[in-house]
Each structure stands twice: as structure tokens, then as C-alpha cells.
């Protein structure tokens, strides 16, 4: 068998992912298939016994077991109509302001994000809920699309987030610490979005006109406040319950996710949305989402095993140090750029699996705080949902958007929000305390 240089294999492995994606094949099996092909090319048949061990490693893993239950909790909440009630009340509360309905979307997404941690769920829910409404009120299509995509993506950053659970598993940091680290950056992004909406709609009211007088008159201010309070209380209690037990160390994240799913079920019963059929449908659709996420993990895990084995990690490390010219901030910028550009191509699971084994040793060598560095990557990975061509939030949105909304509207709409995410990332780099302050309270 001819010898291939690690540089060539590294390049071909990335090129292979792109080719497979463009051909429309599921990402999980592209990654797995490439692991087989390049395992043979660079290593031989003995590479494959690692696959079985890696998969058992994913299965026999109490931290990752939280992922399906958080997804289950999210799906139960989605069907219990928490977001509906919250959006309805906030729409009346913020509607009189220019751009108020868009702000309501961001607020609902922030609260909903704190209950779910699944991007698909929040983007689809908000698109179905808010999009027809915003278009009816005359909101600009691009602004509508951008708001929903960016807001829905917050779910992956604001705890409990399945991304942070996976990062905890990959780094050895505790889930609780990462959750605490993710809160402030998530709120910063959320505030940036609201500020941006206020700014553009303030200058050009036609982008986000306030509610009409008749509509305002229908619901008095007092009623609006009480509606908002009533719809906010149960989800906020659930968040406090789930996060509080994790932060205080009463329960492990896995226990909290299981109890959270159970409480979400009770909430669905409380909201009178529960039926046997609803429960069965939720269990089935949760199964499909869980298997989708976890099979990408399976494929990515095998891919990374081979990638590191054929020397791809060393190639990437050398490249980063060469380009960085020994300046640690330049190296940090290069790593962030790599994640940003990978984000335009593959999804967050693949990126975490490929970059973490390479980046974490580099960050350690440069003396960066591990928690801070990991949360920076989490903030940066927000972009991976929005950056074309492969921004997953864009696909989710386009899948459920009304016919009048074009792909161009969606792409145009997310551009300012991508810029805002980069501003948020920059703020977290500038003020590390935003990440590390709260996390320093627990061990």
C-alpha cells in the first residue's frame, strides 16, 4: 500500500466531508464512511477495533445520557404550549414599541432556550409561532428570519444546553461549571439582539412597525402584565429547578435532566395538553431527534479517532502555530477563525470532536483558562447554525417558513446577527469575567 503524508490525508478527509455533504448523504454516515476509508489508507484494518470501543464509550457514558432527556424535556415543553402563551403575552406587552414583536421573539427564545437546549426545537417552534404574526404586522422579512434564527440558536448556549453537556464530556470540566459559564454570554447575545432590533426599527420604523391602536385597545395593560406573569412562572420555575439542583450539587446533570423531563410532562398535563397520542408522538419524535444527534456523535467519534491516528491533529497544530507566529492572541484568533469557517460547513458535533483534541492542548500551552476557552468556542459555534451554506437554523427555518419567504430573505436576514455574535464573542474575549465569574462559585 502506498504511503500517504499526514498533510495529504488531513486535506482529503476534510475534502471528503464536503463532497459527501454536497451529495446529500447523512452527515453521520459520511463521517463514519470516511473513517473507514482513511483508516484503511493510513493505518490498515487494525484501525477498526477502535470503532467498537469508541461507540461503547459513547453508550456507557452517564454524562451524555443527559442529552436525550434534555431533548425529551424540550419536546414535551414544546407540545405543552409554553412558548405559545409566553409569546402571546409578550407580544401584547412589547408590541406597542417599534420592533417590539421581534424583541418578544428574542425574549421568548431566551427563556425557552433556558428550558430546552435544542436548536431545531426552538427555531421551528418560533418560526411556526411568530413568523406568520410578524409578517402580518408588516415586519421586514429579512429581520423576521434573522431574529428567529439567531434567537432560536440561543438554545444551544444558554443552559441547560446539550452542546455544553457534550463539551463537558470532552474536556473533563463539570457540566455545572460550563452551564454557569454559558449564562452570561447567552444573556449578552440576547441583549445585543434586542438592542440591534431597537436600533434599526427605531431608525426605520417600516422594518418593525408597532401594533395598531385597535389591537392595543383589545388587551388592557394590566391584563398584559398578568398574562406575562402567569405564562412566565412555570417555565422559570422549571429552569430554576433544573439548574438550581445542578449548581447546588443536589443532583447530577443527568438526574436533573430526567427529573426535568418528568416535570415537563407534569406541566403538559397541567396545561391540559396531555393525551396518550401526544405522549406517544413526543416519545417517537424525541427518539428520532436523539438518534440523529447521537449518530452524528458516533460517526464523528470514529472520524476523529482516525483523523488523530493518521496525524491530522499534528498537521492542524503545526498549521496553527506557523500562522500564529508565536503570538498567543493571534493563535487564539486563528483557532476562532477555524471554528467559524468549519461552522459554515459542518455541524457543531463534528466541530467539537475534530477541534477539541487539537485546540485544548494548544490553549493549555498558551496558558488560557480552560473554561473561558471552551465557552468562547461555544459562543463561536452559535455561528455554525447561521453561516451559509450549511447553517442548520436556516434549513429549519426555511423548512417551515410561509411560501413568500425566499432563501435570499433568510440569508440576508442572518448577516447582521452573525456580526452581533462576533461582537458577543469579542466581548467575552475582552472581559473573561463574563464567563468565569459565576463559575468560580462552584467547584
Amino acid at each position: 500500500m502506498p504511503e500517504f503524508s499526514p498533510e495529504l490525508l488531513t486535506f482529503l478527509m476534510f475534502a471528503g466531508v464536503l463532497v459527501g455533504l454536497f451529495m446529500g448523504h447523512p452527515l453521520a454516515f459520511i463521517l463514519g464512511g470516511l473513517a473507514v476509508i482513511f483508516g484503511l489508507l493510513g493505518w490498515g484494518f487494525s484501525a477498526f477495533s477502535m470503532f467498537a470501543n469508541r461507540i461503547v464509550g459513547l453508550m456507557d457514558n452517564l454524562i451524555l445520557a443527559a442529552i436525550p432527556m434534555f431533548i425529551f424535556m424540550a419536546n414535551l415543553l414544546e407540545r405543552s404550549g409554553v412558548a405559545d402563551g409566553l409569546f402571546e403575552s409578550l407580544r401584547y406587552l412589547l408590541g406597542p414599541i417599534r420592533g417590539g414583536v421581534a424583541m418578544a421573539v428574542v425574549v421568548v427564545c431566551t427563556v425557552f432556550a433556558a428550558c430546552t437546549g435544542v436548536v431545531g426545537a426552538s427555531v421551528v417552534t418560533m418560526a411556526l409561532l411568530a413568523m406568520p404574526m410578524m409578517l402580518k404586522y408588516g415586519y421586514d422579512k429579512s429581520l423576521t428570519c434573522g431574529t428567529i434564527c439567531a434567537g432560536g440558536t440561543l438554545g444551544i448556549l444558554i443552559p441547560p444546553s446539550i452542546m455544553l453537556v457534550l463539551m463537558a464530556d470532552q474536556t473533563g470540566l463539570s457540566v455545572g461549571k460550563l452551564f454557569l459559564g454559558g449564562i452570561v454570554p447567552g444573556v449578552i447575545l440576547s441583549c445585543l439582539y434586542i438592542g440591534y432590533i431597537a436600533f434599526v426599527c427605531g431608525r426605520r420604523p417600516e422594518l418593525g412597525p408597532p401594533l395598531s391602536m385597535e389591537e392595543r385597545a383589545a388587551v388592557p395593560v394590566k391584563k398584559r402584565l398578568s398574562m406575562a406573569a402567569i405564562s412566565l412562572v412555570p417555565p422559570v420555575l422549571l429552569i430554576i429547578g433544573v439548574l438550581g439542583t445542578i449548581f447546588s450539587g443536589i443532583a447530577t446533570p443527568t438526574e436533573a435532566s430526567g427529573v426535568g423531563a418528568f416535570v415537563a410532562l407534569l406541566m403538559a398535563i397541567g396545561y391540559r395538553r396531555f393525551s396518550w397520542k401526544m405522549f406517544k408522538d413526543t416519545v417517537l419524535s424525541t427518539g428520532r431527534t436523539v438518534s440523529m444527534v447521537m449518530m452524528v456523535l458516533v460517526g464523528a467519534s470514529c472520524f476523529t479517532g482516525v483523523f488523530m491516528g493518521v496525524g491530522g491533529g499534528q498537521v492542524l497544530t503545526d498549521l496553527i502555530f506557523t500562522l500564529g507566529m508565536g503570538n498567543k492572541w493571534l493563535i487564539l484568533a486563528i483557532m476562532m477563525l477555524i471554528v467559524f469557517f468549519l461552522g459554515a460547513l459542518i455541524d457543531w458535533i463534528g466541530i467539537i470532536y475534530i477541534t477539541f483534541p487539537v485546540f485544548l492542548p494548544i490553549a493549555e500551552k498558551l496558558g488560557f483558562d480552560q473554561l473561558w476557552f471552551v465557552v468562547l468556542l461555544a459562543v463561536n459555534l452559535q455561528n455554525s447554525f447561521l453561516t451559509p451554506p450549511f447553517g442548520y437554523a436556516l434549513f429549519y427555518l426555511k423548512g417551515v417558513a410561509p411560501p413568500g419567504v425566499t432563501t435570499a430573505d433568510v440569508y440576508k436576514g442572518v448577516v447582521p446577527f452573525i456580526a452581533l455574535m462576533l461582537v458577543g464573542l469579542f466581548l467575552c474575549i475582552l472581559f473573561p469575567g463574563a464567563v468565569t465569574y459565576f463559575a468560580s462559585f462552584i467547584d
Binding site: P26, I55, E78, F262, R288
Partner: protein
Amino acid sequence: MANYDTVSGERWGLGAEKGGLAIRTLINIIDTISEWTGRFAVWALVVVVGIIVYEVITRRVFGSPHVWTYEIITFFYGFHFMILAAYTLLHKGHVAIDIIYIRFSPKKQAVLDLVTYLFFFFPFVIILLYVGFDNAVASWATGEKTLTARLPLVLPGMKTVTPIAALLLLLQGFSIFYRRLFFLTKGREL
């Protein structure tokens, strides 16, 4: 990407043509196996939630923790997502990007599917079946026990899940592959 299937609810089906082909019956049987293993395996997650709620209550309220619960939980959690892989494939639920794919003619799409299944899907799944089987046999032979609670059966059982999931995936992959081949050669859905 029509993959968030609470919205799309897509699933591989069969064309209108009835009877005649023995292979049609085979494909139908495979789809049914994937469907019902999926409908069975999804409940594993409900079992996990149940065990956790039970454990939290007994430990926090009655102060009697059980070590074994966590080892049982990981088994059911692993079983859940692995066995569901074939069911999710049947329901077109695995995340893929069709932004370019949909611009091709249906025949070219079939060619793309055949190529990608041959180069990516089948090699991976067959290797998983092979190494997973070896791993499971070795585990049963040595009678591995879990590390903390020393439970028998759990680890060998968990290791047996991989080859079973791979076999189910292989069957479902064949079912889709044959459909695409039939469409390419005959110009109509199976």
C-alpha cells in the same frame, strides 16, 4: 434539509404498484422491522426517566441510594439511540444537507444516493457490524461485570447492541439502496 421531522414527517414508502415482485415483499418486511424495532426502542428513554425519578426520590427522600441504577440507565440510554438509528433512517431523520442535492434531476439524485451509500454508508455499517460482533462475543465469553455494582449481563448486553444496531442499519440501508436502484433502472418508484 427536511430533517426536523416533527414538521415534515417524511418516511420512505413504496410506490402504488401492487404485488408481483418478491423483492417488494422483502423491502416491505425490512421497513416493517425498522419501524417496529423503533417503536419498541423509543420507550427505553421513558424507562430511563422513570428510573431516575425513582432513584432521586429514594435517595433524597428515603436516603437509600442504589449504585446499580446508573449502570442500568446507561444501558437503556445506549440501547435507545443505537437501535433507533435504522428507524430514524427509514424516517429520513438523519441530518443531511439537500441544498445542492435538490437541484439535480430525480435520476441524478438516485445516482448520487447509490454512490454515497456504496462509498460511505455500507463500508461504515459493515465494519461496525464486524467489529461490534467481535467485541460482543469477547465480552460474553469473559462474562464482563460492571465496574462499581459488579452487575453481570449489562456490559455484554451493551456491547451486543452495536452489532444489532449495525445489522438493522444494514438492512434498512439495503432497502433504500434497492429502491434507488429500481428507480434509476425502471424510472418509477418500487
